[in-house]
Symmetry: C2
Subunit: 342 residues, 2 copies
Amino acid sequence: MRMALEESKKAIGYTNPNPLVGAIIEKNGHILSKGYHKYFGGDHAEVNAIKNALKKGHEIKDSNIYITLEPCFHYGKTPPCVDEILKYKFKKVFIGIKDPNPKVNGKSIEKLRKNGVIVDEGILKDEITELNKFFIKSMNYSIPYINIKYAQSLDGFIYNDSIKGRFTCKESLIDVHKMRKKYQSILVGAGTILKDNPKLNLRYLEGISPIRIVIDKDFDIKSTDFNIFNIPGKNIIFTNSKNYICNSKITKIVYIKDFSILNILKEINKMDINSVLVEGGGKIISLFYDYSDEINVYISNKIFGKGISPFENLKKIKEFHIKNSFIIGENIKLELKRCLRE
Amino acid sequence: MRMALEESKKAIGYTNPNPLVGAIIEKNGHILSKGYHKYFGGDHAEVNAIKNALKKGHEIKDSNIYITLEPCFHYGKTPPCVDEILKYKFKKVFIGIKDPNPKVNGKSIEKLRKNGVIVDEGILKDEITELNKFFIKSMNYSIPYINIKYAQSLDGFIYNDSIKGRFTCKESLIDVHKMRKKYQSILVGAGTILKDNPKLNLRYLEGISPIRIVIDKDFDIKSTDFNIFNIPGKNIIFTNSKNYICNSKITKIVYIKDFSILNILKEINKMDINSVLVEGGGKIISLFYDYSDEINVYISNKIFGKGISPFENLKKIKEFHIKNSFIIGENIKLELKRCLRE
């Protein structure tokens, strides 16, 4: 199963909003073939593993298959994998986690067992769940997985008048891009576009640039001269203003009448976007805080003395679980999980 | 030498303001004896090692000695160790670092060599220097080693109205006491005494409580009802007020006419205190910042949203080198070194 998990990781950043899935076919202790779900719309991991085994001329009957996710039960972009598995007469099926998709959610396991296939489930569950947290959150809650990312000075300020541009180190910047690669979308407020004119794309490494989501309730961005509108990639605007003008530089304008964060997130999820990296300024960070799954803070090695705090709009003290702490170049990166006992 | 270094560490917190020193006597590849400087005023490490070798009935002549610090050259609380080494006719002397004390500083090495003893010097230099940073700073600069320690919320606040008492975890508290054990003194401002009424002693582990130094320029502490005056330990007050009243609860009142931080530090050093753990509030932290050698920040897992910042009085942005980052319970501890390129 660990080998299957490693296979699945090869597609990080390419399968969204689909999960990352890997599969290994084994017979009498020998690996016949490997497979993984390579990109959204492509063959599923088990189908790729079967194809690879056949290509090598192996007889699949009576072999075992290890799949990180329960095979699908439904016709989507590809036919149901559970039927493929039955067709090739596997002896045992080892499954990492159940597919949280309500169309599956144990049905394939049941079908395999009814057809006499031995199924073992729950192997490396925690690691596979962590890897597929976007997919699982979206399937379970119908809103995307939210990661709030920001950088602060050692004394907690996200902005200081005397600092022009970035105040974190190059290594932190590259790390942000590694995160961006994993996320299907980046979200900022209109303020960030107007003030910083960022590109919000993927640089320094290969991959698919996330979809850019801009929250512009009151139609503050009146020009499409900003960087995001003039580089490749998709731009989606969420607004409460009827005056927003559609043009070729904006992929989609979503008018939200009841302009709440929850409604915005539900709409994002409906667009098959199941992960959002919130990179906004203090206002956006505070607004999305209550729906965040994790927070990543880059702490600079500088003391500003004064400036703007990231959570000035919070009404009460919030608590986290500190998951990880790393030194990155001259900075610290903290990975935090929300405390559910709040 | 590593063994000698480990010996020296046994006395952490007990030798101040003396250095930590360990010694090993070896002959033909066999360890004859070990020794370390146990407490201020006690026998030096090499003398202890010699005594231990003699106690066991060993003939010392022609053996080698490993000492983390150059033997002393001068009569202090004990006779010069360099003469002891010559007396017992050691063949080789391995030395970690030179003694930075101007009364020694290479003179003992020279004397040994002149008397035909082979001397090798600079072994494990970095580690021994780090372990004896208090002693070295004081000897070189005539001011003590300064460590600024404070705790902040994740968003950088050291104080928030709605928090009563400590906002860091128990594990961080114990870690602070481990630090206190290493330091000869703790320094706070009058504000901390008046507001928090702390004990500023060593709890949760055995050792000598640091000397408490309180900066009370204007004679703000008008009562000795506070905790520090009513528990065991020494209290030294630095003041600019002629009205300060001496009483049995105050060990010493130091009147400083030109009330600058540098003058205070020089006076502290003159009292044979070579390490100061600054545990003050924002005002004291900012004042001592320019003389600090390191900063230790405990970052809580809480977000306050607003509060008091630690460095509100800084005039320009300051930069650090991040040396270490640890997860301690539910908090993060950062160990920072000042950047000399400022």
